[in-house]
Symmetry: C2
Subunit: 244 residues, 2 copies
């Protein structure tokens, strides 16, 4: 095993820790209904919102825009899609937009997450390494009971994944060598970027992140150090590897 | 009460949360003994080390030096005082220096701290706003069981207290207005700086931080929003102020 010296386990969050699509769809459905719009499948709204996620971060990653926290990007992206769903932007109050935008602070974890994290916390430093901003991660953790040791990620590193700086600066802040850190994600691309920075890698597939018809990230596309079906198995794999 | 809208309670750590002097003195005593040096009161070593703390940060605060995390400053300060205690710097291995330097990661909280923080966590965001770096705060918290919601402070803000940016940037990261944050410290100067940035303030005296002969910070020097004898009383004061 190459993971016996891992001291910190860092997690992708949207999709890996929490089920963003179901939560956003549900709250979007309430929002649309309250404005007289019936959508047969409000997950379409969640998907449309999320489709703008990576392009909006790409403005920052490319250097065309200074680092801007995700709450701001999410809000811009929300405003941009409203007309596509028949909503007049000017008819919605800022407070209502802010409230819907904060649905990303209120996402539920997958059922195995809390048990796995509580176990892992006894042996390792655990923290998010997410593109979500600090206050989003704090609100989510307090609501869901995620027992993080710290909130790390894009805002602290001032760089969005998969930019190498997001991983490298996080390792530096932790005072650890890259090989002492294991990145956990449901996305092969995140793990590939982490591996290229020297991190250990663990793939936990979330085959329903994008709904019943998901076609991506169903299987490990490289020989990641760990492939586990859920966070409970992940905790066992990391803890069994420890040199006692 | 002016504190009913407080959402986050942020803590000074060295002296306020943990008893740095006793811990550093004890480990310094072992270190000196192992090198054949008997010090009647190893707290003298702790005091000498700590005396260089603020001047070393002043290099950063003044802009003469780029932001440098506290672990690095602590190590430089440790090397600087060794000759004063009869230790030849060149005779000590880097590993031994690193280990003694990490005593700041292994400090014990005052007896009321865990109970108070666990209670406060149920109603407020709680986090350190310390000049200690992130990995120091993580190690300390895991060892002592400090239930922080996040690790904030100088390294995340890239500014040392009492520079205003240390407080203002932390509020911005939390997405809160300054008056929604209460700074807790055993040091009047820290609270004065926080108040000047619009924070609410709570003074918890630690009359033995500097040993039995302490002459500073024994009493509140301004009308802080809360003055509490310990963290348990602090939690009561903040929770009783909540609008239910």
């Amino acid at each position: 095993m190459t993971i016996e010296n891992v001291k910190a386990v860092l997690f992708d969050v949207f999709g890996t820790v929490v089920d963003w699509r179901s939560n956003v769809a549900r709250e979007a459905g309430f929002f649309l209904n309250s404005h007289g719009i019936k959508l047969a499948d409000p997950a379409r709204f969640a998907d449309a919102w999320r489709r703008r996620y990576s392009p909006s971060m790409e403005e920052v990653r490319s250097g065309r825009r200074p680092f801007t926290r995700l709450d701001v990007l999410h809000r811009e992206n929300l405003m941009a899609i409203l007309p596509d769903f028949g909503i007049d932007q000017a008819a919605i109050s800022a407070a209502e937009i802010d409230d819907l935008n904060h649905v990303w602070h209120r996402l539920d974890p997958w059922p195995d997450v809390i048990t796995g994290l509580v176990r892992l916390k006894s042996s390792h430093i655990i923290a998010p390494l997410s593109n979500g901003n600090v206050s989003l991660m704090i609100d989510m953790a307090k609501r869901a009971g995620l027992p993080w040791d710290a909130i790390l990620g894009a805002e602290v590193a001032q760089a969005y994944k998969p930019t190498p700086e997001a991983y490298v600066r996080t390792a530096d802040i932790l005072g650890l060598r890259p090989e002492q850190i294991c990145m956990v994600a449901a996305h092969n691309s995140d793990l590939a970027a982490a591996r290229s920075c020297g991190f250990r890698t663990a793939f936990v597939p979330r085959p329903h992140e994008h709904g019943p018809g998901q076609t991506t990230d169903l299987v490990a596309e490289q020989d990641w150090d760990i492939v586990a079906p859920d966070f409970i198995a992940l905790a066992s794999a990391l803890q069994n590897s420890l040199v006692i």
